[in-house]
């Protein structure tokens, strides 16, 4: 098997402007060779624009983009998209409707690359479908063709724009696994853009959180979830709620009792306690159930503790809990805290 030639990617201070609007406003992003990084952000955060700048479809107004150490995009240099050897998987796949699956995959390859096409079809479990046209495929199959087409010419980097957004929930999980398997097998450097935190967590080695045109944090999925560096990025990884507290090094006093801190801190602070971190049996702090919302695998309890706003705990759905029930709650997880400003 031919191996691909993954290269590292380095975006430094990248700025992309549309008129007076800065869609990307000084973004920094480093991706090591063979690493999979997810850019996580809300719509309008500039994540797709950054991706398009890396691919060569947007000019930068400041900063530079290097692939394998060579500058491909800056204010003075702009390697055209077709000479960058950067693969891009489009959100709507952008399969050529007038070409068969095999011809789509072969599009970026030199003539006489039938063996490579066959190998890719086999890897995508698309044997026998090479003669079909894109509209004759299911959504998941179309996505696989789009990925294989981009991988075919051995790009140095593969970019994926919202790769799972057009798939239904069941297919999504399966495709996530498949995509990671294919990327690992090819040893690709990959950047995928998503607004879905579980996609980012499941697929990526590291997550870059993007907000208002900047990368505000880059961390492994576990660190982003357990030890985010700021309140803002804490809200991207999962549901977040903050409680006032006073930190004493390794612990902090909060309305939910004394909690262990994942990073030492002293003084007034805000403590991140995610709904699923709250234990609800015999942990010492009395709380009353205001409402209970059943969600299938788990239930959300809206709880009230005197002196602070209502908050949420996620519990297994089989747990007996009704409005007006009282529990002794607490936190059994080492949690992050952020010093109060000023």
């Amino acid at each position: 098997m031919e191996l691909s030639n993954p290269e590292p990617l380095d975006c430094a201070g990248v700025e992309v402007r549309f008129g007076s609007l800065k869609a990307v406003n000084g973004a920094n992003l480093q991706v090591a060779a063979g690493e999979i990084v997810a850019i996580l952000g809300r719509s309008g955060s500039g994540k797709t624009t950054l991706l398009r700048a890396i691919a060569g479809f947007e000019r930068v107004a400041a900063g530079e983009i290097r692939i394998g150490g060579r500058v491909v995009e800056s204010t003075s240099v702009s390697v055209p998209a077709h000479k960058r050897s950067v693969g891009l998987v489009f959100q709507d796949y952008a399969l050529f409707p007038n070409r068969t699956v095999a011809a789509n995959i072969a599009y970026g390859l030199p003539r006489g690359s039938a063996a490579r096409v066959t190998e890719l079809l086999r890897r995508g479990e698309l044997e026998g479908l090479g003669g079909r046209y894109p509209h004759q495929l299911s959504g998941g199959q179309q996505q696989r063709v789009a990925v294989l087409r981009s991988l075919a010419p051995h790009p140095r980097i593969l970019l994926l724009d919202e790769p799972f957004s057009n798939l239904d929930a069941a297919l999504r999980l399966a495709m996530r696994e498949e995509l990671v398997t294919i990327l690992r097998a090819e040893g690709m450097t990959a950047v995928l853009v998503t607004h879905d935190r579980s996609d980012a967590m499941a697929a990526a080695d590291r997550i870059a959180v993007m907000d208002a045109g900047r990368v505000i944090e880059t961390a492994t999925p576990l660190n982003l979830y357990m030890r985010p560096s700021s309140k803002e990025s804490a809200t991207y990884a999962a549901d977040a709620q903050f409680f006032p507290g006073v930190a004493n090094g390794d612990t902090a006093e909060t309305p939910l009792g004394t909690v262990r801190l994942s990073m030492p801190l002293r003084g007034g602070c805000e403590v991140l306690i995610r709904p699923e971190w709250i234990g609800v049996k015999g942990l010492g702090v009395p709380a009353t159930v205001v409402r209970r919302r059943f969600e299938g695998a788990h239930a959300r309890l809206v709880l009230s503790v005197p002196g602070i706003p209502e908050f949420v705990a996620v519990v297994p759905s089989w747990m007996a809990a009704e409005a007006n029930d009282s529990f002794e709650i607490g936190v059994n997880v080492a949690v992050p805290a952020f010093a109060t400003a000023g």
């Binding site: 549309f18 008129g19 609007l21 869609a23 719509s43 309008g44 624009t49 691919a55 060569g56 479809f57 947007e58 000019r59 055209p80 998209a81 077709h82 000479k83 050897s85 950067v86 693969g87 891009l88 489009f90 709507d92 952008a94 399969l95 050529f96 409707p97 007038n98 599009y107 970026g108 087409r149 981009s150 075919a152 010419p153």
Partner: protein
């Protein structure tokens, strides 16, 4: 957030901007020489024109245009509603029958009207034994209005039908589900939704009437175009023709500018229809509807073709003098094929530039195209005569000058048809090609062009059809002795040799019906809207 609207122009390859530059330059020729020729004797010819003929011409031309527009709307709107929303039998057949008249140019309809109702016409011949020796006057305003309505309403029909077919009936359903009666829903939802299309249709027929030269000339109704032509032919000094041409150009340009505003309004209201339309059952009214459609088709299609066939048969019986048809057919078809090929080849890169790259040149090319679109064919032809006599004597009175005129006149039609095709085609397919290592021209060759093939074919058919029918530029710029079908029809018509005119006219309709039929059959008839 939609960033795409703000995206700056990308650098376009030379293979795209060079044709763009050429298109702008070509458009510049008639505008520039018309301005030059009409002002080189100073402003006194202008002031003379304004003090003599212009007020009356303006009034007559605009009055005719207004009446024709109203009549066209009166025929086209019910016809469009019936063929899209009502349960009339053979709906598709009626649609095709209502669009086929596009193959018949207005001067042939005028010829048929004169040959039917005129002093030496069919009706007169039938009624003479009964003692009727004088029919109501066919020449003049009402004859011209009647003719231009018959020839022009299919254009309005296409615009209104497209609006009705693409209107989202979900809005009407929402209105009904909120407890509003069908009648109130029609007035509150359906009709306002049609207003932009109606406005566009009215402006279209106004421009059509103002640009028309053949029908008003054959029916002796004095408008700008007729007077310009008379002035051009009769007087040695052509400044008068140039001045009138420039004034007419300014008037049509003003009208087209307002049409552009309506178009952007129209585009905003356009939606893709979600569900199948439930057809309105007509019940007993169905008979009336069919009678209406039959009359509409009779006037635009059956009358001209029937009258021409009558005169042809009559002429064959009487051994009339028929012109040699073969060279005219060959010349017209050759010119239409070559003109359509060159026009589409020039318009395609410009359309790509405008649909994909944007930027100053693309905008200039679009604007330039709209300017020529507004100029009547007669005015462009006149400007090219001035250009040819002074600066391109080698080209003047050759087929190349005629081809140049066709290209200048019809690049706008091809451009808007192709631009529509490209805008509907997803742009990121070209980005996908680039990310797979293909340069911009390779991407166009392997992705854009193959996908645009139906649009290219439709644009080619459209331009072929329009060149086949074109009269004023063909008359003025054909080399001496160069026979064309419109030329033959024209010369025999003006001499009232109806049998001799019927043969080339029927031949012209037969050839022009081929692209119309192809477009209607392919469902690409929307391309004709432009």
């Amino acid at each position: 957030m939609n960033w795409a609207a703000l995206r700056p122009a990308r650098k376009a390859p030379a293979a795209l901007w060079l044709p763009g530059l050429l298109a702008v330059a070509l458009t510049f020729i008639p505008v520039f020489y018309l301005a030059l020729r009409s002002t080189e004797d100073g402003w006194s010819p202008w002031s003379r024109a304004f003090h003599t003929s212009v007020p009356q011409l303006l009034q007559r031309s605009l009055w005719l245009a207004a009446v024709v527009a109203l009549l066209c709307v009166a025929v086209a709107v019910p016809a469009a509603w019936l063929t899209t929303r009502a349960d009339i039998p053979a709906r598709r057949v009626w649609s095709v029958l209502l669009t086929v008249p596009l193959a018949i140019p207005s001067y042939i309809t005028a010829l048929a009207v004169v040959a039917f109702l005129g002093p030496k016409g069919m009706l007169q011949g039938w009624l003479e034994p009964l003692g009727v020796d004088r029919l109501p006057e066919v020449y003049g305003f009402w004859g011209a209005a009647f003719t231009l309505t018959c020839a022009g309403y299919p254009y309005v029909y296409l615009v209104v039908r497209a609006a009705l077919a693409s209107a989202d009936t979900a809005e009407e359903e929402a209105s009904r589900s909120l407890g509003v009666s069908p009648l109130r829903t029609f007035f509150a939802i359906t009709l306002p939704g049609l207003v932009p299309a109606l406005a566009a249709g009215i402006l279209l027929s106004v421009l059509y009437t103002l640009s028309d030269f053949g029908a008003v000339s054959l029916l002796n109704y004095s408008t700008f175009t007729r007077d310009i032509f008379i002035e051009y032919q009769s007087s040695f000094d052509r400044t008068g023709a140039a001045v009138l041409g420039a004034i007419l150009g300014l008037v049509t340009l003003l009208i087209l500018t307002s049409e552009l505003g309506v178009r952007s309004w129209l585009a905003r209201g356009r939606k893709r229809r979600q569900a199948a339309v439930r057809l309105v059952p007509l019940g007993r009214w169905g008979v009336l509807a069919l009678a209406f459609l039959s009359i509409a088709v009779s006037l635009a299609l059956v009358l001209p073709v029937g009258v021409l066939v009558y005169w042809l048969v009559n002429g064959l019986r009487a051994n009339a003098d028929f012109p040699a048809l073969a060279p005219a057919v060959r010349h017209s078809v050759e010119m239409a094929l070559a003109g359509a090929a060159i026009t589409v080849a020039l318009a395609f890169p410009v359309a790509i530039l405008s649909a994909r790259y944007g930027g100053l040149l693309a905008r200039a090319a679009e604007q330039a195209a709209y300017v020529t679109h507004a100029l009547p064919g007669l005015v462009v032809a006149l400007a090219l005569v001035f250009f040819g006599i002074r600066y391109a004597t080698g080209l003047y009175q050759t087929v190349w000058m005629l081809l140049l005129a066709y290209v200048i006149l019809f690049v706008p039609n091809a451009l808007s048809a192709l631009r529509g095709t490209l805008v509907r085609q997803p742009a990121n397919l070209e980005d996908a090609a680039a990310s797979l290592g293909k340069g911009p021209l390779m991407a166009i060759a392997t992705v854009t062009a193959p996908l645009a093939r139906p649009g290219l074919a439709a644009a080619f058919a459209l331009v072929f059809l329009t060149i086949m029918k074109e009269l004023p530029a063909t008359l003025i710029l054909s080399p001496p002795g160069y026979q064309t079908l419109p030329g033959l029809v024209w010369s025999r018509s003006t001499d009232a040799l109806y049998a001799g005119a019927a043969l080339p006219a029927l031949a012209l309709i037969a050839v022009a019906a081929i692209p119309v039929g192809l477009l209607a059959w392919k469902g690409d008839i929307g391309a004709l809207e432009s």
